[in-house]
């Protein structure tokens, strides 16, 4: 585990030096513009618009980083052969993979935390105060982070055995499919074929359920998120990530690095 930690810290350093955190500048500019414009065009619902816009921006920026950097994380190491010297050290391949995952999740956590702080700053600027209802925004940010960790794990799994382009397509495809799992489960109302209905139901349980992580509407309206959902999503993300990473480790551990 110590060795995975060493890889994780270096991955974080790589992300910082590759200017990944520059995305914060874009977010800051977006939020400043929103704070100025929203105040003029949306009387009475400023905070709803600010929270919705802020959380969407955090999610989209995080997703772009998770998919593109997540895919590149493994592919770059293999393509440029930077991991050759490293794997000759006493490092197990799964430790390397786990370290890479941990490093990018750490980067995303810092990035998301900074953006969340920016969002609260703008919210305070617009409302001139912060109250307990705004805790739901924190929960929404936490759910975005869980979702991003899951996306990173998927991106890393695909990049262990296929090209970057296909890895991006597969990860993005799974993410989009994962936004419609509830619809898949209610598919029976749309088709008379029981076999197809059963297939869609199984598929819906196999796919990562990204719908569960979306509490933006509740957060924007200041509605509290149930504690049970927080626990459920935390366990779901942890278990799903573990399964995906174990699969990735199994694939990567057998891969010949030619």
């Amino acid at each position: 585990m110590r060795r995975a930690g060493v890889v994780a810290l270096n991955t974080f350093r790589e992300a910082v030096r590759d200017r990944v955190l520059y995305s914060l500048v874009f977010f800051a500019l977006l939020m400043m513009a929103a704070a100025i414009i929203v105040g003029q065009i949306s009387i009475g619902i400023e905070s709803i618009v600010i929270v919705s816009l802020g959380l969407s921006a955090i999610s989209v920026i995080g997703l772009l980083i998770a998919i593109f950097i997540g895919v590149g994380l493994m592919y770059k190491e293999m393509d440029k052969r930077t991991l050759y010297a490293l794997l000759a050290k006493p490092v197990r391949r799964w430790e390397f993979l786990l370290g890479k995952f941990g490093g990018l999740v750490l980067t995303l956590t810092v990035n998301t935390a900074a953006m969340a702080a920016g969002l609260f700053l703008v919210l305070w600027y617009v409302k001139h105060s912060l109250d307990s209802e705004d805790c739901a925004v924190l929960v929404a940010v936490y759910f975005i982070l869980l979702k991003l960790a899951l996306v990173v794990a998927l991106a890393m799994l695909f990049s262990c055995f296929t090209t970057p382009l296909l890895s991006i397509l597969f990860t993005a495809g799974l993410y989009i499919s994962g936004l419609f799992v509830q619809e898949m489960r209610t598919f029976r109302s749309l088709t008379p074929k029981p076999a197809l209905e059963a297939f869609m139901r199984w598929l819906s349980y196999l796919l990562p359920n990204f719908q569960n992580f979306d509490v933006m509407a509740s957060a924007a309206h200041g509605r509290a998120v149930p504690g049970a959902l927080i626990l459920e999503n935390t366990i779901y993300a942890a278990v799903y990530c573990a399964i995906v990473l174990l699969t990735a480790a199994a694939v990567f551990s057998r891969r010949n690095l030619k």
């Binding site: 060795r3 930077t82 794997l87 000759a88 006493p90 030619k258």
Partner: protein, 319 residues
């Protein structure tokens, strides 16, 4: 009985090929060899012969199709074995956002080196490879030769017992090659086992206790550079000066090559004394008599040609 530092037994590697990976391409076939502890072993062969494949199998970057290999008595799948080996990949490339000092510090963390010890070790290694003034420059600004030196530094950073270098002289200028040679000699003096692949036969001849020649995935010959070339002694060469015109020397002069008054005559070992008698009788001044040995390069080329001829024969009989 001493344990061999590196030993392989019937090590074979096939790569899948073809559209659906249904075919197999054999890259290494039944490699059985030993590298003794403390020796410098040169692994020679043309491009695509299987040198890098062997090295990658030993350090665990690829996995054997069949056969086994052990380093210091431990199977290559044992992760603890990696504490005792250092590896320089061919044409190494490292994280270009790091400085050389940061890269070495990063690698040192995998070898249980503590803070102060790590810093001291990194500084010592940078000095050893002549990069002490460039240690704080990002690797993206390094030349190929400098990257090779960083690669060498990371390979020996943790004082490994066995050092495996894949083409360590590649891309280096004469000064860089000399420095790498000196480092290899120093490692050898320290009693470490060094195995390296190279195309530069003069380096192998100069540095190695033994060499192995691999062609077409098969090991064709192993031995000390002197031993393996002596097996094919090619006769004797007499260097002499002659200014006369004795008829008795005419036959020999006709076979010799001339440069001014000096002649170079090649004869079979059994004919040496007869030729010397004739030259002495003709008042020629004998300057030297040397045994004609093929160079390592000639031996290498002989094996390469034989390997290619064999491969061609197999191909023809298969069609």
């Amino acid at each position: 009985m001493t344990t061999a530092a590196i030993e392989t037994e019937n090590l074979t590697k096939d790569y899948p090929s073809g559209f659906l990976h249904l075919k197999k391409r054999r890259s290494l076939e039944g490699l059985t060899m030993q590298v003794e502890a403390g020796e410098a072993f040169g692994f020679l062969g043309p491009n695509g012969a299987g040198k890098s494949t062997t090295i990658k199998l030993l350090v665990g970057l690829i996995f054997p199709t069949s056969g086994t290999a052990r380093i210091l008595g431990k199977p290559i799948s044992d992760i603890e074995m990696h504490q005792e080996i250092g590896y320089l990949p061919e044409q190494p490339y490292f994280y270009d956002y790091l400085t050389a000092a940061e890269l070495l510090d990063y690698f040192a963390r995998f070898h249980k080196l503590t803070g102060a010890g790590r810093r001291e070790r990194v500084e010592r290694m940078l000095k050893k490879v002549g990069l002490e003034t460039a240690g704080k420059i990002q690797l993206r600004k390094y030349s190929k030769g400098m990257l090779q030196r960083v690669g060498l530094a990371q390979a020996i950073l943790h004082d490994p017992q066995v050092v495996i270098l894949d083409e360590p002289m590649s891309g280096l200028d004469p000064v860089g090659r000399r420095e790498v040679r000196d480092i290899i000699l120093e490692l050898k003096r320290e009693g470490r086992t060094v195995m390296f692949s190279t195309h530069i036969l003069s380096d192998a001849e100069m540095l190695c206790d033994r060499v192995g020649v691999i062609v077409g995935g098969k090991l064709r010959g192993v031995g000390a550079p002197d031993e393996i070339v002596e097996m094919k002694a090619q006769g004797m060469e007499i260097l002499f000066e002659y200014t006369g015109s004795a008829a008795s020397a005419a036959a020999l002069l006709g076979k010799a090559t001339q440069a001014g008054n000096r002649y170079r005559l090649q004869v079979a070992e059994g004919e040496l004394y007869g030729a010397l008698e004739q030259l002495r009788a003709a008042d020629a001044k004998i300057l030297s008599v040397t045994q004609l040995k093929p160079t390592l390069e000639e031996y290498f080329m002989h094996l390469v040609d034989a390997g290619r001829a064999q491969a061609a024969a197999v191909e023809v009989s298969g069609t």
